[in-house]
C-alpha cells in the first residue's frame, strides 16, 4: 500500500509538472515553432506518466478486489495512451508544416533557407 502510494505520487507529480511546464512554455515563448516545441513534447511526456499511474492503480485494484471493471479500465487507458502517442506528434508535424507554408517566420529570422532550397 505504501509502495503503491509512493509510486502514484511520483508518477502523477511528474505528469502534472511536465504538463504545467508545457502550458507555461505556451504562454512565454516568442513564436509558433518554439511554442510547438514546448507544448507537444511536454504534454505527451506528462500524459504518458499520468496514464501509467492510472494503469498501475487499476492493476492494484484488480488484484485487491477481483473486479473485472478495473481490468477494462486498465486496457482502455492503455488504448487511450496509444492513441495519444500516435496522434500527438503527427498533429504537431502537420501544424508546423502548415505554419511554414502559410508564411509564418520564426522571430528574429532574416532568411528562409527551406523555401530557397525548395525553389531550386
Amino acid at each position: 500500500m505504501r509502495i503503491l502510494l509512493t509510486v502514484l505520487y511520483i508518477f502523477l507529480g511528474i505528469g502534472v509538472i511536465f504538463n504545467g511546464l508545457g502550458s507555461i512554455g505556451l504562454l512565454r515563448f516568442p513564436d509558433v515553432y518554439t511554442r510547438l516545441h514546448a507544448t507537444t513534447k511536454n504534454t505527451t511526456f506528462g500524459s504518458i506518466f499520468t496514464c501509467l499511474a492510472v494503469i498501475i492503480f487499476s492493476f492494484y485494484q484488480l488484484h485487491m478486489t477481483k473486479d473485472s471493471k478495473f481490468l477494462v479500465l486498465a486496457l482502455h487507458t492503455f488504448l487511450a495512451l496509444v492513441c495519444l502517442i500516435i496522434t500527438n506528434p503527427t498533429g504537431a508535424h502537420a501544424i508546423a508544416r502548415a505554419a511554414h507554408r502559410s508564411g509564418v517566420m520564426p522571430k528574429q529570422a532574416v532568411i528562409d533557407q527551406l523555401k530557397e532550397a525548395k525553389l531550386q
Partner: protein
Amino acid sequence: MNEFFGIFIIPGGLLLIFMLLSLIRLILGPTVPDRIVALDTMNTLVVAGMILVGAAFEEVIYVDVAIVYAVLSYIGTLYVAKYLEGGPKK
C-alpha cells in the same frame, strides 16, 4: 468515495488550471498557427484529465469518451492545418 479519490482528482484540477492557461494563449495568439497550437495543447490536456477523472470515480465510460475525443480532436487539428496550408501547389 474510496481513499484514492483525492489522489486522482487533485491532478485533474491542476490540469484544468493548465487548460485555462492555454485558453489565454488561444484568445491572445497573434497568428492563426498559435491558436491551433493552443487548441492542440488543450485537447491533450482534456484527454489526460478525463482519464484521471475516470480513475477517480472508477468509471470506464470517461476513459471511452477520452479515446473518442483523442481521435476526433486529432482529425480536427489535421483539418484546420490542411485548410491553413492552402490549395494545391502552383
